[in-house]
């Protein structure tokens, strides 16, 4: 049985080796070498100047993930509680923007948030700008705009895993909790929340990882002032600061930090039994 299965796994293993393991190895080699491929740690020691970019990336990604969680969790609960017809429609509405091109969506936000964009025009029309005595409210080019872009783009990745866990929750567990004397708040805290943690964990992962490494959102909505790790890495490969070795080193450090975060989180997930006793 075991041999048979591993036989079927061969194509997958080859695929993983070619497309995942070898690229990572190439990245590691680049990270530890100079342009002449001599071993060095300079790529890492130089990285200190970019500390602010690291901090900003993780800070904005963290905020975006939290906002997604705060919006996504209640939405998932609400969807799971409604009838199947409502669930299908809601699901379609959540998926719909994802079928549009990513850049197109982000460009749309640009024209909404610009100093002369739709929102500012609206504020002007209702007299809000006159009231405040300004020509426009600056929105584009702020970290808020970047977070908004992340939330808008990645929210479905938070909702879907949480929703799919909650909708499959055994209803009799909730009845059992009520039967044992728990009011709605306690049913949520002691049963729904701990049992939906796996969905939360995968939602957080699926939002945090692309957020921390995004470059298009920060460049388009950040107006060049909100440089993030993704932008930094891109510059090392395509931009003026061409240095793929440094780029590889930054990617590696980012990857290590993300992996450490995920391991810590998953460990927390396994300890849910202790966590819910708090």
């Amino acid at each position: 049985m075991r041999n048979k299965l591993s036989g079927f796994a061969v194509p997958y293993v080859i695929w993983m080796a070619l497309m995942v393991v070898i690229p990572i190895l190439i990245m590691v080699v680049y990270a530890f070498t100079t342009a002449e491929f001599e071993g060095t740690l300079e790529n890492f020691s130089e990285m200190g100047v970019y500390a602010s970019v690291f901090v900003r990336s993780f800070r904005l990604a963290l905020i975006a993930t939290l906002v997604c969680l705060l919006i996504g969790y209640p939405v998932s609960c609400w969807m799971a509680r409604e009838g199947p017809g409502f669930q299908r429609v809601a699901m379609a509405l959540i998926m719909l923007p994802m079928w549009m091109n990513f850049l197109l969506r982000t460009y749309s936000w640009m024209s909404i948030l610009e100093n002369n964009g739709l929102l500012n025009q609206l504020f002007r029309a209702v007299g809000l700008l006159d009231l405040l005595g300004v020509d426009y409210i600056p929105m584009i080019g702020t970290s808020g705009a970047v977070v908004l872009g992340m939330v808008y783009n990645y929210l479905p990745f938070m909702i879907l895993p949480i929703y799919s866990v909650i909708v499959k929750l055994d209803h009799s567990l909730l009845e059992a909790a009520r039967d044992l004397g728990a009011d709605s708040a306690r049913v949520f805290r002691r049963v729904i929340l701990p049992l939906s943690l796996p969905g939360v964990l995968s939602g957080v992962t699926m939002v945090f990882v692309p957020s921390v490494s995004t470059f298009a959102i920060s460049r388009l909505l950040g107006g060049g002032t909100q440089l993030m790790l993704g932008d930094l890495i891109e510059q090392q490969f395509l931009g003026g600061a061409y240095d793929p070795h440094l780029g590889a080193a930054i990617s590696m450090v980012m990857m290590v930090i993300v992996v450490v975060c995920m391991v810590v989180m998953n460990h927390f997930g396994e300890g849910e039994e202790q966590a819910v006793m708090l």
Binding site: D170, S172, L173, E175, A176, A177, R178, D179, L180, G181, A182, D183, R186, R190, V191, P194, L195, E272, E273, V276, M277
Partner: protein
């Protein structure tokens, strides 16, 4: 015997015009073991859920200790439930599952929320584990337990809250036969020891007879009969109850006088009375109440059409004038042989005609209902013509 604890008064439950419960009236006494028995879809689980508070009747009242509790949510009732699939919390271990209810702060007489002290929780959980024979399993995850053990955790989790009433929804349905028998005794023992009212839902008539003080037989959203197991078995009110509880031959009869019933144009002595002269009735004759005698001495004569060995007895199907009876006997009568039967007056039970008349109690399709037995000599329907 004792005071009434729960009363359902004219409870009707309808989902989108589909009536699931039809004006149920039911009184449950304190400390009794009451079983709701019926086929699936009869409304027994709905009745249980109304008592538990998970459903509110469309009309009618639910009274607990004389107080109307229609609108009281489940978590405010001193009633606990053992769910059909146990519904143990998968993220908690055995100990925490049982402690779940105890950890919830309760409102005391002064209206303050009070938490049980940890020592008391610990004491009560361990005591419960003792009662259900699961000491040493505290730290196990529920997924690591067998079906019977999960069952006992579910019972402990409900009973540790010292409810006035325990509701059990087919709790033994998922267990194998041997374990079921053990758990039946176990449940009965726990109920006696803790002096709690049990309301038990099952479709297994044997289980109902073995465990209950009172059996409530339900079908089609209505209560068909309420009584002790003996009453239900010996004095079924209609053909449905007679058929559902045990095996029954149900034959059309005519009541000629008090104590005299006519079946197949022959008069039989019986103990029932109070019917109109010449009233058409249903007659129940249990398979074990029939004595087999030589053909010429029998009150009725028939032909054996099939024999099944059942261990303790033979189940034989006998054709009387085209109507097939099930008879249980320890003496083998071979297929095709002619036999006579005798029935004592107390073996005959006469019932009023009901909407169930004619639906049950004929064993013509016996060999289809049960495991087909290799029996080439079986007399076919056509050959056994009506002798009348």
């Amino acid at each position: 015997m004792s005071k009434e604890l729960i009363r359902l008064a004219g409870c009707t439950m309808a989902f989108d015009d589909e009536v699931v419960l039809d004006k149920i009236n039911l009184s449950i006494q304190d400390k009794e073991f009451l079983t709701l028995l019926g086929p699936s879809g009869c409304g027994k689980t709905t009745t249980l859920r109304i008592i538990g508070g998970f459903q509110t009747p469309t009309s009618g009242d639910v009274l607990f200790d004389g107080v109307r509790i229609n609108a009281v949510p489940p978590h405010k009732r001193t009633i606990n439930t053992v769910f059909q699939k146990y519904a143990l919390f998968p993220h908690l271990n055995v100990y925490e599952n049982i402690a779940f209810g105890l950890r919830i702060p309760k409102t005391n007489a002064q209206g303050n929320k009070v938490k049980l002290p940890e020592e008391e929780i610990d004491h009560r959980v361990l005591e419960m584990l003792e009662i259900v024979n699961l000491r040493g399993f505290e730290k196990r995850r529920t997924a690591q337990l067998s079906g019977g053990q999960q069952q006992r955790v579910a019972i402990a989790r409900a009973l540790v809250n010292r409810p006035k009433v325990l509701l059990l929804d087919e709790p033994l349905g998922a267990l194998d036969l041997k374990l079921r028998k053990d758990m039946q005794n176990e449940l009965k023992r726990i109920q006696k020891a803790m002096e709690i009212t049990f309301v038990y839902v099952t479709h297994d008539q044997e289980e109902a007879l073995a465990m209950s003080d009172t059996v409530v037989v339900m079908d089609a959203g209505r209560i068909q009969q309420i009584g002790s197991p003996e009453d239900i078995y010996n004095e079924p009110r209609n053909a449905f109850v007679a058929d559902f509880i045990g095996e029954s031959n149900i034959i059309d009869g005519i009541m000629r006088a008090d104590g005299v019933v006519e079946i197949f144009n022959r008069r039989f002595q019986c103990l029932d009375g109070g019917f109109a002269p010449d009233e058409a009735v249903d007659v129940v004759i249990r398979p074990e109440d029939v004595d087999i005698v030589p053909e010429d001495q029998g009150q009725l004569r028939g032909t054996v059409t099939s024999v099944t060995f059942k261990g303790m007895q033979y189940d034989i199907i006998v054709d009387f004038y085209g109507f097939k009876w099930l008879i249980q006997t320890t003496d083998l009568s071979p297929v095709g042989s002619r036999i006579g039967i005798k029935i004592d007056p107390d073996g005959i039970h006469v019932m009023k005609k009901s909407e169930y008349s004619g639906m049950f109690g004929d064993y013509s399709s016996y060999s289809e209902e049960y495991e087909e037995i290799s029996d080439a000599g079986c007399v076919s329907e056509e050959e056994s013509g009506d002798e009348e």
